[in-house]
């Protein structure tokens, strides 16, 4: 409100100044009505032409441009979204395949391991069996030899003692009694060893 009053005052001041200065230097050319009609006429013509051409020709083009750009951008965004979805699907598929192949590889590995383990245990069992058999045989032989050696030792001891007695006494002694004595002695020896 105040502004408007100030502006009105301005105008009246200019009008007053104009009347004062008019006599001296022509004053404000704005308030000289000589070319007012001409200015209004040319304003109407230029502004009218500007308005008509802008309305009929130029502004529709610009709004068309803006619209097509908008729709094109929307379309592009849509296709981009589609492609994104597709690529996500592909990625999922790829991950699935990788997971599957990983599982497969694991199972292959496990199978091979089991096979090898089986083989190893089989071979080991066979080997152990062989070894056991051989050990058994050897043990048997050893024990045979041991058993036989005891008897042989006794026999040899009996014979040598018989011969020794023969040499010493010059008499033949009953070989069976000698054998019994030798046996007794060897038993005592054994017991001593055991103790």
């Amino acid at each position: 409100m105040l502004k408007k009053i100030v502006f009105l005052l301005f105008v009246t001041c200019f009008a007053c100044i104009n009347t004062v200065f008019a006599s001296e230097s022509g004053g404000m050319p704005q308030l000289n009505p000589e070319f007012w009609i001409s200015q209004i006429f040319w304003l109407i013509i230029t502004f009218g032409i500007l308005f008509i051409v802008l309305t009929k020709v130029i502004l529709p083009k610009i709004s068309d441009n803006l619209e097509t750009r908008k729709s094109q951008i929307l379309e592009n965004i849509e296709t981009a979204d589609k492609q994104k979805e597709e690529s996500q699907k592909k990625i999922e598929e790829y991950e699935k395949i990788i997971l599957e192949s990983k599982l497969k590889a694991k199972s292959y590995f496990n199978e091979a391991r089991e096979k090898i383990l089986n083989d190893i245990s089989k071979k080991r069992a066979a080997l152990e069996k062989d070894l056991d058999e051989e050990i058994g045989e050897v043990e048997k032989e050893l024990s045979d030899v041991k058993n036989k050696s005891g008897e042989k030792i006794n026999k040899i001891a009996a014979e040598t003692s018989a011969e020794l007695i023969k040499e010493l006494i010059g008499e033949e002694v009953n070989s069976s009694s000698i054998a019994a004595i030798v046996e007794d002695q060897s038993k005592i020896n054994k017991e001593r060893k055991d103790v």
């Binding site: 009105l8 050319p29 001409s38 040319w42 230029t46 803006l66």
Partner: protein, 244 residues
């Protein structure tokens, strides 16, 4: 005579005297600058609207930015009902802006520094808005002068004030633009005169002032065109939406 700061506002005839009956409608320097401004607008915006590329070039960007600027201004102040008046407000804004800006060129004539030009524009807007208001709301448009929520005692006074303020719209609108343009250009001329009269010794201060004023005046040129257009939008909003 050229040192008179008002000399720049003189209107003189270019070419022969044209008479329509008894009225003089000769082509003057003011008419010349109106034509130049309109042609510049048409050429720039036509070039900007010609190419239909997704990524705009400079002129296309300029025209599209001004289009959306004005469209936003209208939809912000007057709502969606004001869309049919978009092209008028766009032309008005561009015309005033280009006239103001051409006036900033040295030795150019500022069309909008003449009260008769701005007054004709403002009066046309005033009459148009009033007609639109009465066409949309009939006599109900008179409710504009009766604001709601005012005590009955104050109502007669308020109504009188409202009517006066409504009727002073074209005057305030036209004088605002005219006075701003004229005052700015006069001031620049005065400071320019100081530069000459103070010479090489003391002329630097007014010269720097003149440079600063040029920047300010370019700002004012834009701002006044914007104010002119946005006030038109506000008046249009009153006529279209009437929620006083």
């Amino acid at each position: 005579m050229a040192s008179n700061p008002m000399y720049q506002f003189n209107v003189y005839r270019i070419g022969p005297e044209i008479k329509l009956g008894s009225v003089d409608i000769s082509f003057t320097n003011a008419s010349l600058f109106m034509v130049i401004s309109s042609l510049a607008i048409l050429i720039i915006f036509n070039l900007g609207a010609k190419k239909k590329t997704v990524i705009p070039d400079k002129l296309q960007l300029l025209s599209e930015l001004s289009y959306s600027f004005v469209a936003k201004m209208i939809s912000d102040t007057a709502g969606s009902k004001a869309k049919p008046y978009f092209s008028f407000i766009f032309s008005l804004f561009m015309f005033v802006l280009f006239c103001n800006m051409f006036g900033m060129i040295p030795y150019a004539f500022t069309v909008t520094s003449h009260i008769i030009v701005t007054f004709v524009l403002a009066a046309f807007i005033f009459v148009g808005v009033t007609i639109i208001g009465f066409m949309k709301h009939g006599l109900g448009y008179l409710k504009l002068f009766v604001p709601s929520g005012v005590p009955m005692v104050l109502l007669p006074l308020i109504v009188v004030i409202e009517i006066i303020s409504y009727l002073s719209r074209p005057i305030s609108l036209s004088v605002r633009l005219f006075a701003n343009m004229m005052a700015g250009h006069t001031m620049m001329k005065v400071f320019g005169g100081f530069v000459i009269s103070l010479g090489i010794v003391g002329g630097w201060l007014p010269l720097s002032f003149s440079v600063a004023l040029t920047g300010l005046e370019i700002l004012v040129a834009f701002l006044q065109a914007y104010v002119f257009a946005i006030l038109t939008c506000i008046y249009l909003n009153d006529a279209l939406n009437l929620h006083h």
